[in-house]
């Protein structure tokens, strides 16, 4: 007869082996080698830019590391860049797709059609219609790796690009592409874009700031299927008992921009050339390209005073005379409020030094007292 110890040992050994195998499984799967493919960076970039019409569906997760010092009206935008956002996506084309932001107890679905978007908020039982505008506030669909990768690479020069190997993302072999912004003003150290070599879809984007090892933004697909989604899935008809609204947020921002008195912006600030963007109000000066962007706008004095106080309360704020500046990861924000001239607000993915330099180059408009 076997002793107790001898009878117990093999049984526990079986349990131990089972646990060890199960525990090692994720690590083994992750360690499976991925074959790299020596595709040149420029060719890979071209594939990404041509991928807007690739139809797919999937599940993506974006994690933002930015704590934006913004006001209550823009809470939703701030959350996008500071939180973890889970998204389901069905993409039939740039004008026909649906992105659901998944929360544990509900969801917010954004259905795009040719004329605009329906936004369905389950917990408020509200459907909001917004007309398509060339310029809109950042929304979850902008954080999809596929969309973001195209946007970031579209303005990147080939010289800024380098290949960085391959890895497996969402079960697909992805080739890496690293964009290192050439502008000294840029607060973005590098942008890593991982591209599904079969379809050209970007499957992961990691934005690293100049100062931090924690990505300012990391968005990736967890599941990706290259099948054509059903048209019925992306379409939306508001349910009978939903409250219907028309979106105003974008309009409010644009309206405020339109009311700004146009200022003769210089063609270059802090080494960044002026640029245009379709739909942007002329009162706002836009500079830079790719991952390095800077927006300058004159702000009404009343608004500037409130904003200045809010910013100054932040422990990281640098207050120098009448200007206040603050950085949240690679995003810098600066308020210049000289006593005898109109205030300016500068913000973008540039360093604080670049903000100071840019502020000094702005035209001085005498205060109208």
């Amino acid at each position: 007869m076997a002793s107790r110890a001898r009878a117990a040992a093999p049984r526990w050994a079986v349990v131990g082996v089972v646990v060890a195998v199960l525990a090692a499984l994720p690590a083994i799967v992750a360690a499976l080698p991925v074959a790299d493919d020596p595709v040149p960076a420029a060719e890979l970039r071209a594939a990404v830019l041509a991928s807007a019409d690739v139809q797919f569906s999937g599940y993506a997760e974006s994690a933002g590391g930015l704590a934006l010092p913004v006001t209550d009206q823009l809470d939703a935008v701030a959350d996008l860049f500071s939180d973890r956002t889970e998204m389901r996506v069905w993409w039939r084309g740039p004008d026909d797709h649906r992105v659901d932001v998944i929360t544990p107890a509900g969801e917010t679905g954004i259905h795009r059609d040719a004329r605009g978007t329906w936004t369905w908020e389950y917990e408020r039982a509200t459907a909001t219609r917004a007309a398509a505008t060339p310029l809109a506030l950042p929304a979850p669909p902008d954080l999809l790796p596929a969309t973001l990768g195209r946007r970031l690479l579209s303005e990147t020069a080939d010289a800024e690009l380098a290949r960085i190997g391959a890895r497996r993302i969402a079960g697909r072999d992805a080739l890496g592409l690293r964009a290192t912004p050439a502008e000294p003003a840029s607060a973005v150290r590098q942008v890593d874009v991982w591209v599904d070599r079969a379809s050209g879809l970007t499957v992961q984007v990691v934005v690293l700031g100049e100062t931090s090892e924690v990505p300012a933004l990391d968005t990736r697909f967890l599941d990706l299927e290259l099948a054509v989604p059903d048209a019925a899935t992306t379409a939306f008809a508001p349910p009978a008992d939903a409250r219907l609204r028309t979106a105003e947020e974008t309009e409010i921002v644009l309206e405020a921009g339109r009311r700004l008195v146009p200022v003769p912006f210089p063609p270059t600030v802090a080494g960044l050339p002026r640029r245009t963007l379709e739909g942007a109000p002329p009162g706002i000066g836009l500079y830079g390209r790719g991952a390095t962007l800077l927006a300058v706008a004159p702000v009404p004095r009343r608004l500037a005073e409130g904003l200045g106080r809010t910013l100054a309360q932040s422990p990281d704020a640098v207050v120098e005379g009448t200007s206040t500046r603050i950085a949240a990861g690679p995003v810098g924000l600066m308020l210049v409020d000289p006593r005898d001239a109109e205030p300016y607000l500068l913000t973008g993915t540039v360093t604080l030094d670049a903000l100071v330099e840019a502020a000094a180059q702005l035209p001085v408009t005498r205060a109208q007292r």
């Binding site: 007869m1 002793s3 107790r4 009878a7």
Partner: protein, 306 residues
Amino acid sequence: MSTVIATRGLAKQYGRVHAVDGIDLDVRAGDVYGFLGANGSGKTTTVRMLLGLVLPTRGEIDLLGERMPRAGRRVLPRVGALIESPAAYGHLSGRENLALLDAAGPGGGRRDRRRRITEVLDQVGLGGVGRRPVKAYSLGMRQRLGLAGALLRRPELLVLDEPTNGLDPQGISEIRELLLDLHRGGTTVFLSSHLLAEVEQLCSRVGVLDRGRLVLQDDLAALTAPTGATVVRTPEPGQVRAVLDGRVAAVDGERVVVRGGDPAEVNALLVRAGVPVTGLAADRPTLEEVVLAAAATSADRVERER
């Protein structure tokens, strides 16, 4: 006569404590085996090893000719057991408890279950207890119910650990009769107890356990066989010594032990000498004397190590 329980070098060690230390039990078919031992001597551990509840550290067990605990599934349905105290689900009636226990293992036919339960309940004297839940039972009733559970499948072997616990004198005598009755019907009984009197009255074979070791195992008749001396009761022990000079082994008040195994011969000598004799018997050791001689001290004594 076949062997019902046979162990070889059976031992159980808990850490550094040797609860059972290499015992060789030998229980034969038809025995009423008294397994004697003080509290803590290892009786319960041995019983649990026999039933496969505790796994031995060393040694072998054959139960009804098969190796335990490997053959437990085949052997145990033929064994009825009462292990330490009885136990039952308090919210159910005795009848339901028996039905559940019977259904929980092999060897209990479903068709005649109701009949068998009625029978054993009558047998242990609980026939009229009805639907009362077990939590309303007295200690004695629970003991009877436990016994009923052990008898449910007419086992070939009954392993009983202190079966008369909590019973009143009438109850004890009833159970004794029941066990003797079963024994006459061919059931082998393995009775573990610390009550010498109970074992002496019931058993045909005795094993004595002392601190994990089997110090004695024999037929009761052999253990208490005449010693070859005669016990004389007399109000005049001095006269006895005078008459049977040299043959008197011990004098204890009116009790005189005389060498010589034939009481008639001793009596003739004494009567001839005019010594009054009030009692006369062949000398037999009591079980108590045998056990005390074999087992050194009580096992619950914990002596300082020297």
